[in-house]
Amino acid sequence: MKLSAKTATLLVLALMIAVTPFFFPSGYYYRVGALIFVNGIAVTGIVILTGYAGQISLGHAGFAGIGAYACALAPVHLGLHPALAVVLGAAISAVLAWLVGRPILRLKGYYLGVATLGFGILVSMVLNNERDLTRGPDGIDVPELGLRAVLKGWGLDMTNGQFWYFFCGLILILGAWLALNLYDSPTGRALRALHGSEIAARTVGVDVARMKLQAFVISAVYASVSGSLLALQNKFITPDVAGFMHSIEMVTMAVLGGVGSILGAILGAGILTLLPQVLTVFAEYEQLVLGLVMMLVMIFLREGLLPSILRRLRGTGE
């Protein structure tokens, strides 16, 4: 039986999440794993926006910031359960993406880049400056999600690290599944058509503006959920989560691993999350290595790591 690409991707993901913990020498590896999955969720959104629809965003961390601060603020000020705060953050992100996306998605290339960049900076500025609400650059505490205690009541006792590892892993699989379904749907086909050529897509009847907006809104929700999970996991969040560097990090992870492939983008998230952990002995050289990796991969493996590697394997293997 031949597996479809979709099933294969989900299987690989699930297997990796389930099997790697058997090789973890200490609890700290669960923490790194959970961070990879949180970043993986954000880059899955970038795949939809950039890989499917061909649009650039240099401000997606703004949505991650909204998701994160929704979890910090909604339980305290609105009395919402943290889990509902995640949903609220995603909803606010979606509405905001819809409002902002309508005017700015008419822009192309670098102009779209600077407009999204401006949006991200505005969000991060509000989080930094509205001290009375957000407590400013020093950060704010985030309430406990409470799910671990519930699971414990059911007889499933996990450490904090283990819980976040498996919980974020599960959400990542869910996110990847939704994104893969989108790819095969009529919307996905329309997105890919406009990625190829907007004018050609328009002439065959694709509502280009609506399609781009849809991709922008969906990817904003992914970023928002990723921000929420980060905040809940750390139980503390600072406006850095919405910063320019975080936006760049998301795009870099996706493009490095392969922005056309969900598994590739997640691989990119894994590599960039691991890099500072592997390089601690050479911390002085960390930036040097990171910059070099970014340049080399983009020059020699233009489609990103995973697609390029797979192409080479196929090319020589058969």
Partner: protein
């Protein structure tokens, strides 16, 4: 009145630095369609190398010249090693490459130099000049003069010299330029050297005012990028106007509205301009190829 004048002085001082960075963006964009996010690192290198050479005992003008020449050489190396091999890559890949270069240069600078903040003496002393109840530093005049002189120099170069016209021809249509015998690779190299040199010049002129350290590049890059986009990418006049406009908007917002949201004002202005003029103030109309 003196208040307004002071805000104006503040705005043009900062704006002149942004304008120089924006001009650097424009030159590379014209030659290669690449927005070089490492442009801010050229500014940082201009300041840091000058400081380093000056601290090592060289006279300031010589240190500044060395800094500009070394940075221009680095620009050429960046073009040969990172940009030329990636020709034809999608915009997002080019963004990652130039940001990668920016991170790489920062990483190298903190190893070669250090992580402290540095400065060197102002060229014409620190005694402020008084005009109508407001004050401006002599060094600000150096920066403003530098931005204007660079703009005029570029204008003469692009319109009055054969080489400059070759650069313009390449930016309009690379293939056609090649067909009429223009060495487009040389044009690319020249543009990177020029752009890096101008960035370093900005660093040399501004450091006595803004101070420098290995991490200052990204701030200059963002503001310069914003200025270049506001004016319309690829147009030197747009870069000059855009850079000064961002500086002035910041100073006026800080002075009359809220200093907390002065950076926000600049970006809101950009969003508004792009909403009505998707190519910026002076940008070229582009047509999509089918």
């Amino acid at each position: 009145m003196s208040e307004l004048l002071q805000f104006l002085f503040s705005g043009v001082t900062v704006g002149a630095v942004y304008a120089l960075v924006a001009l650097g963006f424009t030159i590379i964009y014209n030659a290669s369609d690449v927005v070089n996010f490492a442009q801010g690192e050229f500014v940082m290198l201009g300041g840091m190398i000058t400081w380093f050479a000056h601290a090592a005992g060289l006279p300031l003008p010589l240190a500044a010249l060395i800094a500009i020449a070394a940075t221009a050489a680095l620009g050429v190396a960046m073009n040969k090693l990172a940009i030329e091999p990636a020709r034809g890559a999608p915009v997002v890949s080019l963004i990652i490459i130039t940001i990668g270069a920016s991170i790489f240069i920062q990483g190298a600078a903190q190893l070669v130099f250090d992580k402290q903040i540095h400065s060197f003496p102002a060229f014409s002393g620190d005694d402020p000049i008084r005009i109508g109840g407001a004050t401006i530093l002599p060094q600000s005049l150096w920066v403003i003069g530098g931005a204007l002189a660079t703009f005029v120099g570029l204008w003469v170069f692009f319109t009055r010299t054969l080489l400059g016209r070759a650069v313009l021809a390449t930016s309009n249509n690379r293939l056609a330029a090649q067909l009429v015998g223009i060495n487009t690779n040389f044009v690319m190299t020249l543009s990177f050297a020029l752009s890096a040199g101008i960035g370093a010049l900005a660093g040399v002129l501004a450091t006595p005012i803004t101070l420098t350290s290995y991490g200052v590049g990204i701030g200059f890059a963002l503001k310069g990028f914003a200025g270049a986009m506001l004016g319309g990418m690829g147009n030197p006049k747009g870069a000059l106007v855009g850079g000064f406009a961002i500086g002035l908007i910041e100073a006026m917002t800080a002075g009359y509205l809220s200093s907390q949201y002065k950076d926000a004002a600049a970006f809101i202005m950009i969003l508004l301009v792009l909403f009505f003029m998707p190519q910026g103030l002076f940008g070229r109309k582009s047509t999509d190829r089918v």
